[in-house]
């Protein structure tokens, strides 16, 4: 087995980072003024996660000190994004996402000051310098959306451009990872705004640090239900298609998940902990219409996040077991 568990952790946290921004951006665009904190939270958490993930990628290499080779010697015909090595494309996406994310955080931060206040703040020199660029953050937020979609798609494409039957058998692996990434990203947002950390970040970006209204949390949890159902549908499609309508090699590969060495992690971790339990709890909660208690608000997203990790582990390791 050449790709070990650190790569699964990387696929997981890169997915969360991109998915959280995607979810945060969508909510803040669709309900203007109510969710403006979310894309900021997503970037504030996402940039370190992307950097940590890249570090894990580098550690997994056979020759770590040569990681810079990824960004040199690009051959002319390979400039076409779609036909280049997905890993090469992914390297550029990670780099661009981190740079855009850092720029956005900096611009949001300077934008939260009045001009006179800025002079008194830490890093005031840098702040004064980049302040005129603050309106750029609108453009960057769209650039970041495109990069986030590419980032979360790439985690699936990376695996599917191989000759391992579980990964390459059908076109649904990128779809599955995208659905899971947005679901886990949303869970991260819920986890942060439901705790005091969200209020701290709010103050950092110039807000009042007021508690997040229960209505916002409720609306986010409704969205999570639909995200969970979508992910479940894609997962069922992925498994059934491989098992029933694909090649014998793919059927053997998927049996590693369903009945083979990965079956416990798959059924208990991915299906039960990651999908069915959070969905059931959320649905019960939504139908009874009770006020959100903090315990539930923390446990549910934590389960979804764990399920995302189990999914990456099962797919990454299970794909390399000879079925």
């Amino acid at each position: 087995m050449i790709w070990e568990w650190p790569l699964a952790v990387y696929l997981w946290i890169a997915g969360i980072a991109g998915g959280a921004y995607f979810a945060g951006f969508m909510l803040s665009r669709l309900r203007k003024g109510r969710y403006d904190l979310l894309p900021k939270v997503a970037m504030f958490m996402g940039v370190p996660m992307v950097l940590l993930g890249s570090l894990l990628l580098v550690l997994d290499l056979g020759q770590q000190l040569r990681a810079w080779h990824l960004f040199f010697r690009v051959q002319p015909p390979r400039l076409l994004l779609l036909f280049s090595s997905p890993m090469s494309v992914g390297g550029w996406i990670l780099l661009a996402y981190a740079i855009v994310g850092i720029a956005m955080i900096a611009l949001w931060w300077v934008g939260s000051f009045e001009p006179e206040e800025l002079r008194l703040s830490v890093l005031s020199g840098l702040g004064m310098l980049i302040r005129p660029l603050a309106p750029l953050v609108r453009v960057l937020s769209w650039v970041a959306l495109v990069l986030a979609v590419l980032l979360i798609s790439y985690t699936g494409v990376l695996l599917s451009a191989t000759n391992q039957a579980l990964w390459a058998g059908i076109l649904l692996l990128p779809a599955l990872f995208v659905a899971s990434a947005i679901s886990t990203g949303m869970a991260l947002l819920v986890l942060i705004v439901a705790t005091g950390f969200g209020r701290v970040l709010d103050i950092l970006f110039g807000g009042e640090g007021e508690p997040i209204p229960g209505e916002v949390l409720r609306s986010m949890s409704r969205t999570s239900i639909v995200l969970g159902i979508l992910e479940l549908v894609v997962l069922v499609g992925f498994v059934v298609w491989l098992a029933a309508f694909s090649t014998p090699a793919a059927a053997a590969a998927v049996s590693v998940l369903l009945t083979g060495p990965m079956s416990f992690l798959f059924w208990a971790g991915v299906v039960l902990i990651g999908l069915l339990v959070p969905l059931a709890l959320e649905l019960t909660h939504a139908t009874t219409g009770r006020e959100y208690v903090l315990g539930a608000a923390l446990v549910l997203p934590a389960l979804v996040l764990l399920g995302g990790l189990f999914l990456r582990l099962v797919v990454l390791l299970g794909g390399q077991v000879q079925g």
Binding site: P77, P86, G91, V157, L173
Partner: protein
């Protein structure tokens, strides 16, 4: 290292034309090649030893598994080996090494350009390889492997250091029965087809030639006496990045669906509900 002008034009033409189909570049396999004839192979493993010696590859510790193969698989330190193909009571040896495909998956997935076509060879530049393992996952024949000692992916090079000065690869040089032949691929193709005819006429009904058209033509042609499955070779080997454009599309379309279904629809409904509440509240006041 750089693609020739003709290759470049072919590649760019394909890039524009096959944008969504994601077809593999259709390079013609020419130049030197190897012909393996399983009907002449006695499984002496002279090829395996000659490869180790010429390329100064260390030996591997293996367990006695009661089977002729030793070691059982190619690795970063074993680039050529003898496999045992069985079908019922009938068995055959099979020399196994890199196929040097025209459409090489290792080349297409390599993120640094370390794996590349150089004329008739597919080589992994040991100074540029970062050991990411992508070629290991992508090869349809499971040939390249990461070496523990070098940290890079390594595989058969067709002994380019010998072949480029007119010599033949060490394995072919060492073969005592003529089962491995080095030469112009066009000529080897004719020779292989003739051999298949001879074998079929003398009772080997399953005899066939592997590698003429697979993946744009393999640099290694094989005359095999048993059906393909017995050798563990894929009937139609898959070019790893063959449908990569559709895979990207799969992810992007899913993101679009998610943007519409949970977010747009749900939020619009909730916003509408809130407006209704507000107007109702206004009337009460």
């Amino acid at each position: 290292m750089h693609p020739s002008r003709r290759e470049f034009l072919q590649l760019s033409g394909f890039g524009l034309g096959g944008l969504l189909l994601g077809k593999a570049p259709n390079l013609e396999k020419t130049g030197k090649g190897m012909l393996y004839d399983a009907s002449k192979c006695v499984g002496c493993r002279a090829c395996q030893m000659a490869c180790k010696i010429w390329n100064t590859l260390p030996s591997e510790s293996t367990d006695a598994e009661g089977i002729y193969e030793s070691p059982r698989h190619l690795s970063g330190d074993t680039w050529t080996m003898i496999k045992l193909a069985e079908q019922g009571d009938v068995w055959s040896f099979a020399n196994y090494q890199c196929m040097h495909c025209a459409q090489a998956s290792c080349v297409s997935v390599c993120p640094t350009g370390a794996a590349a076509h150089t004329g008739e060879f597919v080589l992994i530049d040991q100074h540029w390889c970062i050991g990411c393992g992508y070629c290991v996952q992508a090869c349809p024949f499971n040939v390249p492997h990461r070496s523990e000692s070098s940290g890079t992916a390594r595989k058969c090079t067709f002994c380019f250091d010998r072949a480029s000065v007119g010599d033949q690869p060490a394995c072919a040089d060492a073969c005592p029965t003529g089962a491995l032949t080095w030469g112009e691929r066009d000529e080897l193709l004719v020779k292989g087809k003739e051999r298949v005819e001879v074998l079929r006429a003398s009772g080997f009904g399953d005899a066939h030639l592997y590698g003429e058209r697979e993946l744009g033509g393999l640099g290694r042609l094989s005359v095999l006496t048993l059906p393909l499955e017995a050798y563990g070779l894929p009937q139609s080997p898959r070019y790893a990045t063959g449908n990569v454009a559709l895979q990207w599309l799969s992810g992007i379309v899913t993101a679009a669906i998610v943007a519409v279904v949970p977010f747009w629809l749900l939020q619009r409904r909730q916003a509408a509900a809130r407006r209704r509440e507000e107007t109702a509240g206004g009337r009460e006041r």
